[in-house]
């Protein structure tokens, strides 16, 4: 599935670290909000 502007962003579920807790996050949990999803090569690098 290609990623295209104007098309649905692919949904996914991953583990996440939030406020000291480890939990699951699903992109579609944030429907109704603007979401800025950013990928970066690795922790301890710059973003």
């Amino acid at each position: 599935m290609a990623v295209k502007v104007g098309k649905p962003a692919p949904d996914f579920e991953t583990n996440a670290y939030i406020d000291g807790e480890i939990t699951k996050v699903k992109l579609s949990d944030y429907k109704g909000q603007w979401v800025m999803l950013y990928f970066y090569p690795g922790d301890f690098t710059f973003v």
């Binding site: 599935m1 290609a2 990623v3 295209k4 502007v5 104007g6 098309k7 649905p8 962003a9 692919p10 949904d11 996914f12 991953t14 583990n15 996440a16 670290y17 939030i18 000291g20 480890i22 996050v25 992109l27 579609s28 944030y30 429907k31 109704g32 909000q33 603007w34 979401v35 800025m36 999803l37 950013y38 990928f39 970066y40 090569p41 690795g42 922790d43 301890f44 710059f46 973003v47």
Partner: protein, 133 residues
């Protein structure tokens, strides 16, 4: 909502947050740090670098309906422009709320355009290239 994502585990995120990020940002990053184990999500967004096993610097702006509105992918050694990203969020919100269009270099308060047949061939009457800067 901001979501950061890399191939690192939640435990690595914790160590980075507590050991380094919290020294740069009081209280640490105020948003979730996601773990893209095996680059599965990076593959969905076409930013997974299989040779190096990492996600490259892709950034995706998704609207409240889950539709992708903007994206940018940079080479790993090139850092992003946060001000431009925030400008794009403002422009996308403006377009969604008003149905108007934002020409090059638009910032809040600057001239927007009302798309339609009347505008065809008339952009030069209301907009000039110096307004892009």
């Amino acid at each position: 909502m901001v979501l950061a994502i890399s191939i690192d585990s939640p435990f690595t995120h914790k160590v980075w947050q507590e050991g380094e990020l919290s020294k740069m940002v009081p209280g640490g990053l105020p948003y979730p740090m996601l773990s893209d184990t095996g680059g599965r999500v990076g593959e969905l967004y076409d930013v997974y670098d299989e040779a190096n096993g990492v996600d490259i610097r892709g950034r995706f702006l998704i609207d409240p309906d889950g539709i992708l509105q903007a994206m940018e992918v940079l080479a790993p050694a090139v850092g992003r422009n946060v001000a431009e990203m925030i400008r794009q969020i403002k422009a996308c919100r403006f377009v969604r709320e008003t149905g108007e269009a934002t020409p090059a270099g638009w910032e809040p308060g600057k001239k927007s355009l009302k798309p339609g047949a009347e505008l065809v061939g008339k952009v030069c009457d209301i907009w000039s290239p110096d307004m892009a800067f």
